[in-house]
Symmetry: C2
Subunit: 118 residues, 2 copies
Amino acid sequence: MNSAETLEPTAVDAEVCCEPSGQPSLDDYEAQLRASVFKALADPNRLRLLSIVKGSEGGEACVCDLTQPLNLGQPTVSHHLRILVDAGLLHREKRGTWAYYSLVPGAIERTTGLLASL
Amino acid sequence: MNSAETLEPTAVDAEVCCEPSGQPSLDDYEAQLRASVFKALADPNRLRLLSIVKGSEGGEACVCDLTQPLNLGQPTVSHHLRILVDAGLLHREKRGTWAYYSLVPGAIERTTGLLASL
DNA sequence: CACACACATTGACAATCATCGATATAGCCG
DNA sequence: CGGCTATATCGATGATTGTCAATGTGTGTG
């Protein structure tokens, strides 16, 4: 395939391909960066965690408030929360024995921006 | 755990939990539904596919245009495209031998809505 | 100090997934 | 009809992931 002059606009260098529109499409690095955020959102239990934290009194919740509604073990919930923190979606603040999780301000909006600017 | 009366507002039924705010947080079904969309977005190559399709001439691209910029085999690209179609993000139209993929109108906006209404 | 509690971390395991090679389907052209 | 091309599907495989039990860490309390 792609001998010389076919009728399809087959790119020669496989980098900037075939779109004379706006952006030159996502490069591999940017795609991996954005995918890591969506990976954090790609689990129903993590979505529920975000939802519960967002709807909690004062906008924050501790782990002990989160294990029961999800019907999951405490280590599993801790694991999910860590992924959400690493993705920049949740903020963790330790007060005494408890760890309070809250939405990072603007994180949701920033994430929708990742979609809109595809 | 959850013997009888501790000091935390432990819900008795693990359904509506502990938020006297707006929504009663996501139920398991809705969470799974939304997660399936984000699962489709949780791969860098699929994000690049969406980006290339969106930026392509006429808003559509066929498989042969997509394998080279991603540096992936044709079966793999077909597989990713299927996932994006199943998620309701891409539309597939067969014309002759070619299959043309295009963004489903409003799909991106609907997806951002899944985030905003958490 | 000793104990209890809230949370994090580790190790293991089953399930899901991304990728590839091989093959199947189907439209076009000689 | 017979080959060629574009795409889809299948089977296998290595990698990632969600979950749990067990354990570690740090903080408050008797």
